[in-house]
């Protein structure tokens, strides 16, 4: 899967940190875009979940960043790029139940520690690169035909 073809569709969304009023709007917009492009419903659903978690993490823990949606014939990609504090221990962040959410966030229904695990469970590949003090880039890939056929079973390998 390494022949570089340009995406059929590309869209960039801005996320503003702590903007709780708009948090989650990118996710619903991404689903709208994907549906309009005729992407399979299961992929649309998974993309919505991945996007929601990525978006919420950006809103809760960073000053903001961008979400890039790339739609290919065989897959979709969501790239979350923020200028936040970075994730000191990525392995810890991948653990279900681990959360650094402050109390005010927990009282609003956030911080169950399922953010990154949910992203992983709903994508076929998830890469996290982070540098403390600089920011984080998360790249999620969801295969298209695979999702439709296998109901979202994860694929390993390249």
């Amino acid at each position: 899967m390494t022949v570089p073809t340009p995406p059929r569709h590309k869209e960039i969304f801005t996320v503003v940190g702590l903007d709780l009023e708009r948090a989650g709007t990118v996710s619903t917009e991404v689903q709208r875009v994907l549906r309009k492009l005729g992407v399979e419903p299961e992929v649309v659903r998974r993309a919505g979940i991945v996007c929601f978690e990525g978006e919420m993490n950006m809103v809760l823990y960073t000053p903001g960043g961008r979400i890039i949606l790339l739609v290919y014939d065989d897959r979709i990609e969501l790239i979350f790029s923020d200028f936040g504090p970075g994730i000191p221990d990525v392995e810890l962040a991948r653990q279900p139940g681990y959360s650094t959410a402050p109390e005010w966030a927990r009282e609003l229904g956030f911080g169950s520690g399922m953010g990154i695990p949910n992203m992983e469970a709903n994508s076929d590949r998830l890469e996290i690169r982070s540098r403390v003090g600089e920011g984080t880039v998360i790249r999620a890939m969801i295969l298209r035909r695979q999702s439709e056929a296998a109901g979202g079973r994860r694929e390993t390998g390249s």
Binding site: E21, T28, R45, G48, L108, F110, M114, N118
Partner: protein, 131 residues
């Protein structure tokens, strides 16, 4: 069970979406933490029972294609959230009952729990059980 019947059983009012009162609800899921809803619900047409009234609840309802949201404990979302739900076509209901009673009433009236989704590795070894 329809939204109308659910509203009757738990004495709930429609905040928006009363025109969808005849919508059939397949199952219910009760939670206040949004990521748990994303992690655990795997079918569509589920009613979310929650005490979290933020705008994100409605966005989760959209992302997951929920049948509707029932707010408990007499909690009410902001008007902007209700307006958004109206434009997105997500029915919102509200009851004074606590979540426990709400679950008890609906469960005894035959509303099934939402089908399970395999949780990501939460309980197969990441935290050891006590002896």
């Amino acid at each position: 069970m329809t939204l109308k019947e659910i509203a009757r059983v738990v004495e709930a009012q429609f905040l928006t979406g009363a025109d969808l009162a005849d919508r059939e609800v397949r199952a219910a899921f009760a939670a206040d933490l949004l990521s748990d809803v994303l992690a655990m619900v795997r079918e569509e047409g589920v009613l979310l029972i929650t005490g979290t009234v933020t705008a994100q609840v409605v966005r989760v309802a959209e992302v997951m294609n929920l049948a509707g949201v029932l707010f408990v404990r007499g909690k009410l979302p902001a008007k902007a959230t209700v307006d958004y739900a109206a434009s997105a076509g997500i029915p919102l209901l509200a009851t004074e009952h606590l979540m426990y009673e709400t679950c008890g009433l609906l469960f005894s009236h035959g509303l099934p729990p939402a089908k399970r989704k395999r949780l990501p590795a939460e309980h197969d070894g990441s935290h050891p059980s006590p002896p």
